[in-house]
Amino acid sequence: MTGLQTPVKLPAQTELQTPTKPSRLWSTVFAIAVGAVVLVAGAGLKITWSDLPAMPGQIAHYLRLMFEAPNLEKLPRALFETWRSISMAWLGAIMCVVVSIPLGMLAANGVGPWWLRTALRGVFAVIRAIPEVIIALILLTVTGLTPFTGALALGIAGIGTQGKWVYETIESVQEGASEAVRAAGGNTAEVTRWALWPAAAPTLMSFALYRFEINIRTSAVLGLVGAGGIGSMLSNYTNFRQWDTVGMLLIVVVIATMLMDAVSGAIRRRIMEGAKVRDVARSS
């Protein structure tokens, strides 16, 4: 109120009481330190900078080899392998979600006991720290070179992040409904089933589909270590240096991935927004 009147009342010459500018010393020091680290890191690598001018030409050369005349001869095989990759991704996503939803819920504050929460979060963190490829390599020794190994690796590797998403979602659910269930004498299981689950379910379903999308991309990488699917085929033909077939495979991978992304993304949007649209229609 007075703030609005001051400029009118006071003469223009009065010196403004500008707040002291906060010190930027530490952020400056930090920025310089980061810059130094970048320079030192670059200097440590033996990069032959003289090769750099030749790179664009090299890239263009290989792009031409791959895409000038993609070899469509192996297309049916490529589509079949793509299908195996998608199956692997889907199976892996289901395994991951089926395990991580209950475990993630138990790891949420207010659901599981503290010792279980700590243990589960520890397990999630360890899994997150291990790349899928490493898990696949370990599994290969047991289950052999099959797409099932890939699915299993995806299923296990995903639990780390998926479990974290689940408990963070559960913890972000509004308190109200849980309090009501507790006030009526409900136990933790009942609170979880009838207050937390209804509120979190659409988000969790969306995350499940998101896991599938991620797995489709990752399954191509897993193929590189021999877990089967389009990735294996890609890896083989790269080793044989049959660039025209590699080009065709890359096109298939990109199109298939984008297609599955679009379909899954559309379903996810429907899950998250569909309910809201229906509410508006009902309450009007």
């Binding site: 009501a180 269930v181 006030a183 004498g185 009838w194 209804p198 509410d279």
Partner: protein, 275 residues
């Protein structure tokens, strides 16, 4: 005292299942050091209709939550009917809560779940976990839930999702959920603070009817003077976690309210002025 007079008034209403509430020197200090309640002693007789008034932060919410153990008293004892709430935990606390109905300012329904399953929450403390987790009520529980919905005029919405209801409808469903417990006492934490004036009067009338017809002990947290005077018979004033007023609600003067609030009356202290 005034409580005796009201017991005579309510004498012809069967109140056999209604419970008294007794707080003996109850103090609550939250982990962050906030002293929410300080040495509160109260006795509420079965079948009383009590309002607890005070500004936000005065300890109303804490007081009402010590009665069903949602907040544990740091000191003192809370006794509700046959249960000493302060000594209970786990299964026995849940069993006691099963007899204490509660409604909230924010309704606290499971928004994406239908009205029927929201109301069935009221049977959780009284039925097997197997049935409650699967959402398969016994015939008797189903009947109780539907009757409770009918008694608040919400039976036709039984299959609607909670988030498709208006605020007033949600609060009625919440009342039905509490009634499904077949409670011996009813707690209401600012039940009308999120509602418009006509709906607020409707919900207050529902609470008065529950008190009148079933002889239930009803405790209502409220900060609106006119509603406290109009619908409740006894008023307890809280300020800074201590009881500063305890007397008949209808006779409470503006001066009494100013003393409870510790400041002059403002226009938003009454519902009708806000309308």
């Amino acid at each position: 005292m005034h409580t005796d007079a009201r017991r005579v008034e309510a004498g012809d209403i069967p109140a056999s299942t209604s419970w008294p509430v007794e707080l003996k020197s109850v103090s609550v200090t939250y982990p962050n050091g906030t002293k929410a309640l300080q040495d509160v002693s109260l006795r509420i007789e079965p079948g009383e209709m009590v309002s607890i008034v005070g500004l936000s932060g005065s300890g109303k919410s804490t007081l009402i939550r010590t009665i069903n153990g949602l907040v544990q008293a740091t000191d003192g004892t809370v006794t509700v009917g046959p249960h000493e709430i302060t000594g209970l935990s786990g299964r026995r606390l849940r069993e006691a809560r099963g007899h204490i109905g509660m409604i909230f300012q924010g309704f606290n329904l499971a928004e994406r779940t239908d009205v029927f399953h929201n109301v069935l929450v009221g049977r959780f403390a009284h039925s097997s976990p197997f049935r409650t987790l699967l959402g398969l009520p016994t015939k008797a529980d189903r009947e109780l839930a539907l009757r409770a919905l009918d008694s608040v005029g919400m039976l036709e919405k039984v299959w609607a999702r909670a988030n498709a209801l208006s605020g007033g409808q949600k609060q009625r469903v919440a009342i039905a959920r509490a009634l499904t417990q077949q409670p011996s006492i009813m707690l209401a934490d600012e039940p009308v603070a999120s509602l418009d004036p006509p709906t607020a009067h409707g919900v207050m009338r529902d609470l008065r009817r529950i008190n009148g017809e079933r002889g239930l002990t009803v405790l209502i947290n409220i900060h609106l003077m006119d509603l406290a005077r109009q619908y409740t018979t006894r008023m307890i004033g809280l300020r800074d976690g201590a009881v500063v007023y305890d007397g008949p609600a209808g006779a409470a003067t503006d001066a009494d309210f100013e003393q409870i609030y510790g400041r002059p009356i403002q226009s938003d202290d009454t519902l009708d002025a806000r309308a």
